[in-house]
Every structure is written in structure tokens, then in C-alpha cells.
């Protein structure tokens, strides 16, 4: 690619002028079958089963996975999370990021090609499109043809199905934040609240627009992950590669012709790899930023190679190093165990284990201590010095609990207010607490003390630090 600096050459033939803004060329990806297509559909089913199915699962008396933003409680199967547990979301995001680093370092844009919602929904929408309008050539003919009742019917059916699926997607998404059973009942009477209307339609329109119309434009122009993943490639990353050394010079030939007698490479220039590409690139020009690594071209080229009785793998997952050095598969796979991959894997494993452990060992009780803002300290009957606190006790279990409060850290420190409180399931309550010491039993100033709150059964226990003020 690197040539000497371009010298300005005045063209003899006037070249075609283009606008600074490119009109979107509609793509008609051809359907494809094969190993990677099966993997892609496997991931479509897996991700969509989880996405559409999860909100319907019940756990005891409630929805198993529900993010109740209004009440600020997040239910994940047996776990009730408070906003204070935000660290788990952070952990999840860090795990996601590290997984992306790992997968990308090993095999390029696996996420993009197989599990990204943009790819998955485009796949589903394309499937509907194909069922209604037919495959690539039929669709191109239909679009090129004049308006007719048949065309209207086909287009109408397609959009009807798209919109139905989009609405179902929007509905499901909102079902993660509003109990989906209630939402379902409301759907029949069209009695959503204003925000439910908004979000169902917002996500429906986003699905319809992105999977139906924007498609590869999202990956090419809008998605930041698409761009920064290329920065995580190295020369040992598995990418969809065209074996130019074997393929070139390309050209059409008879199936009966003997390859060894022809002055041609293995590429028969059937252009099927271009026709199946969901982003409309020609993989034979090498790795391009548009390539989402879906391997549709690998599948289709393999079928052509089979027909020609040539060995498979003219387009295959390979690495730049393997391509340049004509490595064998075992040589290529050995490079997967390189330091970068091992380090990503180790950190990822440690994080996953750490978060799981922390979730399992979590104390389902939280306590916040706030000193009273009105009275720093006061003298009360009986020659006692009193400090007032408010304790926010958060029950993160789904049973009502009775908690007992004790305090320690100063000689003679005693609780003067009620010591036990009932807190309802997943409820949080502020309770006033008064602590007393004998007047003169502690030096003037601030003294570190500790509240100890635990349930009566002794299953969970929390210590919280605070201070006791003694006036001068």
C-alpha cells in the first residue's frame, strides 16, 4: 500500500465527481448456510430466549428479574439490590469490557458478528424480509419493479411483521422495569401510563429503524465499539481473511478444468462473498473497518470450494502472522496463548470469581448513621450526656426482620432509646437513636464509637462507625 508520495497528476480524462455526503446504497444480503451461520442462529436464539423470556420468570411471589426504578430496588432472582449496591453494576460493566477485550484479542469482532443486538435484530429482520419478499435477487427485482398490488402486499406484510416484533421488543424491554404481568394486562386495555407508552414506543421505533433501515449504517457510522475494537487487534488476532496467495489471480473457469493447468488462483470470482456481506464490502480487498466478523463470506466461499472440489478455507478465520508465514493450524492456535490473552483471561477470571463470591457472601442488611443536625450534645436528667443519631436501617431480605441496635466504644455508653425495630421486607426505615454516657465520664471532644446492628436471629450483622461529642 505504501507508495512514494503522490505527485499531483492532472488527469487527462475528467474523473467522476462525488458529493461530500454519500447517499446510502441499499444492501440486499444473500442468505447463507454453513457452520458459522448455524453459530450465528444459535446466538440469535440464545440471546433472544434470554431477553424475551427472562421478564416472565417468577421467583416466589414476584418477577425474578425486575429493576424497580421507582422504589429503587433491583431484584435479581434471590438477591435484592439497593442503589448502594451500584458497585455490582460497575463490576458487571468491567467484566463486559474485559470480555470484549479478550474476545477481540483472540478472534476479532466476535461480539459484533454474533451477539450484538444490532446484528441479531438485523438477522431476525432479514429473515422476515426473506420469508416475505424472497432472497437477494427476488428482493432486488421487487424493489426495481413498478408499484403493484403484489408489491404493496409484500411490503405491507413485511412492515406489519417488523412493527409487531418491534413493539414486542419495546414491551419486553419495559417489562424489565415495570412488572411485565401488569404491563401485559394493561396492554389489552391500552391503559399504559404515559412513560410506559413513551418507552415501549421509543424502543419499538429504535428496533424498527435500526434493524429494518439503518442496519450496517449503525456499525459503520454510529457505533464507537466498532471503531475501537480495531485498536485491540494484533498480528495474532483471528480475523476473516482472504488467502490472496492462493486465490489470485481470480477468474471464472469451467468446473471441469484442472486448476494446476490454469494460470488462475482458486478464486472463481463468483462474487458470492460480496453478495452475502451484511456490510457490503469485498473481503478480498483485505481487512476493512466495516467487517463485523460474521463469517458469512467464509460459509459461502466454502460451499463454492466444495462445488469446485477445491480445498475449503480460501476465506477463513486466520491471523496476519499465519497468513504471512503460511502457518499450520497448530502453529496458529499456539499463538492464542500469548501474554496479552493470558493476562486478560486471568483478570477476567479473578473478577468473575470475586463478584460471585461477594454476591454470595453479601450481608442482606445496610445501615447508615447520621448524627442529628440540631443538637450536638445535651445534658439530660440523671446527670447524663446525650447524643442523638438517626440510623437508616435497610432490610435487603424479602422477609420482615427485627433488628437490635447496640453501641460501643466509650465507657458506660448506653442506648437510651428503643433498641429493637421491625423493618418490613426490602424496606428501609430511619429510626432515631439516643446514646448516653455519665456526665464527666469522657474528656471533652469527639470520641469514636461504633454502632452494631444485627437481626435477632443473628444471621446478619453490620458495624458502622460514628462519633460521640462531649461539650467543653
Amino acid at each position: 500500500m505504501q507508495e512514494s508520495p503522490v505527485r499531483k497528476i492532472i488527469p487527462i480524462v475528467p474523473e467522476e465527481e462525488v458529493s461530500l455526503y454519500e447517499a446510502q446504497k441499499k444492501l440486499y444480503p444473500r442468505s447463507v448456510t454453513g457452520l458459522f451461520a448455524r453459530w450465528r442462529w444459535g446466538f440469535v436464539f440464545l440471546t433472544q430466549l434470554v431477553f424475551y423470556g427472562l421478564p416472565w420468570l417468577e421467583w416466589g411471589q414476584r418477577q425474578a428479574v425486575l429493576f424497580d426504578l421507582g422504589a429503587r430496588r433491583f431484584y435479581l432472582f434471590g438477591v435484592v439490590l439497593y442503589p448502594q449496591d451500584f458497585i455490582y453494576l460497575t463490576g458487571l460493566l468491567v467484566i463486559s469490557a474485559l470480555s470484549l477485550f479478550l474476545f477481540t484479542a483472540v478472534a476479532g469482532r466476535l461480539w459484533c458478528g454474533f451477539t450484538c443486538p444490532q446484528t441479531v435484530y438485523t438477522e431476525i429482520f432479514l429473515w422476515i424480509e426473506r420469508k416475505v419478499e424472497g432472497d437477494r435477487s427476488a428482493r432486488m427485482r421487487l424493489d426495481a419493479g413498478p408499484a403493484s398490488a403484489r408489491k404493496l402486499l409484500k411490503k405491507g406484510t413485511k412492515h406489519f411483521l417488523w412493527i409487531a416484533l418491534s413493539l414486542w421488543t419495546g414491551f419486553t424491554f419495559v417489562g424489565y422495569f415495570t412488572p411485565i404481568q401488569t404491563l401485559w394486562a394493561e396492554a389489552f386495555t391500552l391503559s399504559f401510563g404515559p412513560w410506559e407508552w413513551f418507552w415501549v414506543n421509543f424502543y419499538a421505533i429504535a428496533t424498527y429503524g435500526n434493524a429494518g433501515f439503518m442496519r450496517e449504517q449503525v456499525c459503520k457510522y454510529m457505533c464507537p465499539y466498532a471503531r475501537f475494537q480495531s485498536a485491540m487487534f494484533d498480528r495474532d488476532t483471528l480475523i476473516v481473511s482472504y488467502d490472496a496467495a492462493r486465490g489470485e489471480p481470480r477468474g471464472a473457469r469451467s468446473r471441469k478444468a484442472d486448476l494446476s493447468t490454469l494460470a488462475l488462483g482458486a478464486c472463481v470470482d463468483c462474487t458470492l462473498c460480496v453478495q452475502v456481506c451484511p456490510t457490503g464490502i469485498d473481503i478480498r480487498e483485505g481487512l476493512q473497518y466495516e467487517c463485523i466478523g460474521c463469517a458469512a463470506c467464509v460459509d459461502v466461499c466454502d460451499t463454492v470450494m466444495d462445488k469446485m472440489n477445491y480445498p475449503r478455507g480460501l476465506i477463513r478465520f486466520s491471523t496476519q502472522n499465519a497468513m504471512a508465514g503460511q502457518w499450520s493450524n497448530s502453529q496458529l492456535w499456539r499463538r492464542v496463548r500469548r501474554p496479552r490473552v493470558l493476562v486478560y483471561s486471568a483478570i477476567l477470571l479473578a473478577l468473575c470469581v470475586g463478584i460471585m463470591w461477594s454476591l454470595l457472601e453479601r450481608t442482606p442488611l445496610k445501615v447508615n448513621v447520621v448524627r442529628d443536625r440540631a443538637a450536638l450534645s445535651r445534658i439530660v436528667a440523671g446527670g447524663k450526656l446525650e447524643n442523638v443519631y438517626r440510623l437508616q436501617i435497610m432490610n435487603a431480605t424479602e422477609q420482615p426482620q427485627r433488628y437490635r441496635i447496640t453501641a460501643s466504644g466509650l465507657e458506660g455508653l448506653a442506648l437510651a432509646s428503643e433498641a429493637e425495630f421491625d423493618i418490613g421486607p426490602a424496606e428501609s426505615r430511619w429510626v432515631p437513636v439516643r446514646l448516653q454516657i455519665g456526665y464527666g465520664s469522657a474528656a471533652p471532644g469527639s470520641h469514636a464509637i461504633e454502632f452494631n446492628v444485627g437481626d435477632i436471629a443473628g444471621e446478619s450483622r453490620v458495624n458502622e462507625k460514628s462519633i460521640f461529642l462531649v461539650p467543653r
Binding site: K8, E17, V18, L20, D372, R373, P432
Partner: protein, 308 residues
């Protein structure tokens, strides 16, 4: 707009906003008309630093339409909302108006709840956990600043949980106190009592009323001088709730205990003010609050579980 003393800044902001938007439109128009001739290797022909060449990756046209939509939205926004200098916008929207609307909406939503509460007398309401949860929040937001979050006050701020009342503890009296506020007025009495020694004697007499440690000789001498105090605090020193005069016999010392504190009080007097909440809280809220405060030192009438 009061932020602007003259018209200059208003015009300045308006002109710059509109010129900025028009410049964006102009830029879009120029670039949309421009045609370029890409070279065979799909570069724009620009070369920097000897061999850096710019790829010709044109922006999608729909993206340009997004820019245009943004500009249309922006202009629409500037017509509807205040944004151009002191122009107030067609919708007449203000932050203050939005706040007022939200308060009105919340009050309307809460009205049925408060209607349930006002239907009950305070003594019964104190046994209603839902009402007391509301009462606690009202107390925390409006009363706890002085009386403390446990309502037990501190020096100068009365304890509301001890059953001792300066102005009366019946719910109706509490409503009166919260609504109108109170002003406790202890005038300087040194001159009426007599010499500094007399004042000291009175202080010991006052201490003796509650059985606190005192000098019995001084207390005997001070008893005669207490007549000056009896006008408000009563001959027996039990105070007068009609005047807000504290009971001196119950060993509760709002402004400090001991000889020195009492001497200071007699000499200098004190004006202690509880502000009225009439404009700030609604009658229904005050009703709930009075029940909450009453419940701190009384058992609710239809006794269920009293909250602390």
C-alpha cells in the same frame, strides 16, 4: 428580564445565537453543494507530512439530514421557550411556573390522603401508622432543625416528648402553637426582685421547688422575693400555660440548670421564639403534625402500636 439592566446583552445573545445557527446552515449548504474528485486509490488528494493521505470516506447523507433536523428543532425550541435574550417564548415557560405546577399537582394527589387524616381526631390519628409515617417526615423536614430528630430538643429548644408543656399539650393547643408560633417572654426582673443577693436567694428558692440541691437558708430568704415572679409562674411556681410561663417545680430546665443559669435568667430575661408555620404548612399537614407531636408523649386513643 431583571438580569439585564439594559437591552444590550439581550440583543447580543439573540444576534449571536441566530448568527451561529445560520452559519451552521450555511456551512451545510456549502458542503452539500461541493463536489470532489477522488483519486483512483480512493483518497482525497490531500497529503501531509510527506506520506499521510486522507481517505475519502464521505459522511452518510442521512447524517446531514440529522444536522438539518437539529437546526429545525433548535429554531422551534427558540420560538417556544425562552432562549433568545429576554424573549420569553410562546409557551411562557418558567422554572418557577414549573415548580408551582408540580406543587399544585402533588397537593391535588395528596388531597384524598389528607382528607382521610383530617377526618380523624388527632388522638385517634396518632394510632394510624400511615399518618404517623407522614407526620414523621413532616417533622423531620420542618421541626427537627430546632427540636432535634428525636423531638427531644436541646438547650433553648423544648423537648416535645417529655409531657411537659409551656403552652399546653392538648392537640388543639399544639395546632395553635404550630400555626401561629409562640413567643416566650421572660422580662429582666432584677430590679423587681431587689439586690443581687436577693436574686441569688430567689435562685435558690427556685432550685428548692424541684427538690434540686440548694442552700436552704438562701431559699428561705428568697421565698419572700418570689412574689415578683409569682405573677407569671404562680405562687406555687407551677407556671401558667396561658402565659407560657414554665413550671419551675418539675426539674426540667429549658435554658440551663443551676444557680448561675437562674441568676442570669432573672437578671437578663429572655425572649424565645417559635416561628409560626401558617403560610408554610397546610392546615391538614398541621393537623397530622399535631397528632404526631401529641403521640410522642401520649398513648393514642384507639391504641394499637404507638410509634416511638
Amino acid at each position: 428580564m431583571s438580569d439585564f439592566t439594559g437591552n444590550f446583552w439581550s440583543v447580543y445573545v439573540t444576534v449571536f445565537t441566530l448568527v451561529g445557527i445560520l452559519a451552521c446552515l450555511l456551512l451545510l449548504w456549502i458542503t452539500a453543494r461541493k463536489k470532489v474528485t477522488p483519486s483512483a486509490d480512493n483518497t482525497t488528494g490531500h497529503v501531509w507530512d510527506e506520506d499521510l493521505r486522507e481517505m475519502n470516506n464521505p459522511m452518510p447523507r442521512w447524517w446531514m439530514w440529522l444536522f438539518v433536523l437539529t437546526i429545525i428543532f433548535g429554531l422551534g425550541y427558540l420560538v417556544a421557550y425562552p432562549g433568545l435574550g429576554s424573549y420569553k417564548g410562546k409557551l411562557g415557560w418558567t422554572t418557577h411556573g414549573e415548580y408551582t405546577d408540580e406543587v399544585e399537582k402533588a397537593n391535588k394527589e395528596l388531597a384524598p390522603l389528607y382528607a382521610q387524616f383530617t377526618a380523624k381526631p388527632a388522638e385517634a390519628l396518632a394510632g394510624d401508622p400511615a399518618a404517623m409515617a407522614v407526620g414523621e417526615r413532616l417533622f423531620m423536614n420542618n421541626c427537627a432543625q430546632c427540636h432535634g430528630s428525636d423531638a427531644r430538643g436541646s438547650k433553648g429548644f423544648p423537648n416535645l416528648a417529655d409531657g411537659d408543656w409551656l403552652h399546653g399539650g392538648a392537640p388543639a393547643k399544639l395546632v395553635e402553637t404550630i400555626t401561629q408560633g409562640r413567643q416566650g417572654n421572660m422580662p429582666p426582673m432584677a430590679a423587681a426582685v431587689g439586690t443581687p443577693d436577693d436574686v441569688k436567694n430567689v435562685a435558690h428558692y427556685v432550685l428548692s421547688l424541684s427538690g434540686s440541691p440548694h442552700d436552704s437558708l438562701r431559699s428561705q430568704l428568697g421565698k419572700a422575693k418570689f412574689t415578683a415572679c409569682a405573677a407569671c409562674h404562680g405562687m406555687d411556681g407551677k407556671g401558667n400555660q396561658a402565659l407560657g410561663a414554665p413550671n419551675l417545680t418539675d426539674d426540667i430546665w429549658l435554658h440551663g440548670w443551676g444557680e448561675q443559669a437562674i441568676v442570669n435568667m432573672v437578671n437578663s430575661g429572655k425572649v424565645n421564639v417559635m416561628p409560626g408555620q401558617a403560610g408554610k404548612l397546610t392546615e391538614a399537614q398541621i393537623h397530622v403534625l399535631s397528632a404526631y407531636v401529641w403521640g410522642l408523649s401520649n398513648k393514642p386513643a384507639t391504641l394499637a402500636t404507638a410509634r416511638p
